[in-house]
């Protein structure tokens, strides 16, 4: 199967991956045979087969609503690329186009 460049552009955008032109062309070439390989699943009639999302029978896990210590803010923020007081500092949301 052939993978259109627009599809690669769209998927990379959805995935927030800033691929350059070379990478996008390589993706087109590499993903096409993989997606073709998936077509074999079409051989199976699954109209009446329920999907399996997970394999264990455990459903809602309830626990008592008790206060427990959470991670210390300073330790958590120690890994943050940007920090201001007890917040993550992010880049400007607007501008910079």
């Amino acid at each position: 199967m052939k993978l259109e460049r627009e599809v690669v552009d769209n998927v990379a955008s959805l995935a927030r991956l800033g691929l350059d032109d070379t990478e996008k062309e390589r993706m087109r070439e590499e993903l096409a045979p993989i997606l073709s390989y998936f077509e074999m699943l079409g051989e199976l009639d699954t109209d009446h087969i329920p999907p399996t999302a997970q394999v264990i029978t455990v459903q809602n896990q309830m626990r008592p609503d008790e206060a427990r210590p959470s991670l210390p803010t300073d330790e958590v923020l120690a890994n943050a690329p940007g920090r201001e007081e007890s917040y993550f500092r992010v880049r400007p949301v607007f501008g910079g186009q």
């Binding site: 999907p51 455990v58 690329p81 949301v93």
Partner: protein, 488 residues
Amino acid sequence: MAGELFNLTIHEAAEKLRAKEVSSRELTQSVLDRITAVDDKVKAFVTVTAEQALARADEMDNLLAKGEATSPLAGIPINLKDVLSTKGVRTTCSSKILENFVPVYNATVAEKLQQAGTVLVGKTNMDEFAMGSSTENSGFFTTHNPWNLDTVPGGSSGGSSASVAAGMGFLSLGSDTGGSIRQPAALTGVVGLKPTYGRVSRYGLIAFASSLDQIGPFTRDVTDAALVMNTIAGYDRCDSTSINAPVPDYTRGLTGDIKGMRLALPKEYFVEGVEPGVEAAIRAAVTKFEELGATVEEVSMPHTKYALATYYIIAPSEASANLARYDGVKYGFSDKNAPNLIKGYFSTRDQGFGREVKRRIMIGTYALSSGYYDAFYLKAQKVRTLIKSDFDKVFETFDAIISPTSPTVAFKIGEKASDPLAMYLSDIFTIPANMAGTPGVSIPGGFSEGLPVGLQILGPALGEEKILQIAYAYEQATEWHKQRPPLN
């Protein structure tokens, strides 16, 4: 070589510790010396924690002397795959995006091993975010197979398998999403166990595909694997998918007796692409099982051939969602030059992730995107039901399934690196058990072309005791597990 401390099994080392023939410090020093001697060739470790390990060993020697350390794992030097969070010890997932990440809490398994008194000597290399079958996708370097340095150690837990094979740790824990414990165990001639999904807490495991991921041990024999399971298995309120069932003593079934057991040999696991040397080793194992009093019968698991395609839709789909968290805001690499928030997401993720990770994020995002969801993701989930039903049917009448772990022995570094699909085929015999959520173990099953062959034993859900019982009987009737790589 065989007499060296670093080559002992856990239970042998534990006996020597109890008899005061050796100290935890001596065991730890022996492993650290071994790392110094051979790891520039094997390259199993991302991080070595030598100083902390020696201090910890001294602490354990004190507790052992006072009789306060009772676990058979007390004082034993171990390492962990770098996908498991270790408080205060850098945890990278072998990715540039987490190169300087230092976790603020321990994974439950790391905590349990610490409580048991183990000595952490380091964190091992892997395919980035556990995506791969050779460690060639590591963001840092490729690990080499100690049996032949020109070949891969398997993956994604290749640093773990190579370290245990080469005497650089008595135990490593890895993670298995599609075979990432069993396949590298097979390629390096050690024991690798993937427990039932939910049997071991995944809290603190950096997520790849959440409906498939499971943590398990690499050891030098089956007894050691059982001892480790006694410590790491069990319910954890921090993991809502962990199973709340009693943990048995996994050593109980290690009797050597498997008379009357019924073993299934799926004909779909002996297809084209299986190397003759691998097939011959597994056929010889069948004979051995029959000598031990088990019966072996051929069965059909007709949906086996669809497992790989199903996996490469489901796992990347879940991964694309899990890896959305790497946004350059909370932790990890961040492109400081990005002009605004949205451009920062794009450039951070482009620079931080390697090729295979990007490829899988693309596959997963594609499969989940509007217009393709039903044809790919939903279809794959339905086929997953069929694959699971193949297992359910076999386990109605059989105790376990036996097969090769991998269709080939260790392949050359670079041989499959440029062909993703060829690489994915390394996992065709391990993936189905992840789909079904059932346990499997790979044990040394002979040699082909001078390289180890892995024998895979698959059991029903929560059937770890039974597969370890079968594995132990085979192990004790053979000498494969006593072989060590000729590494100097």
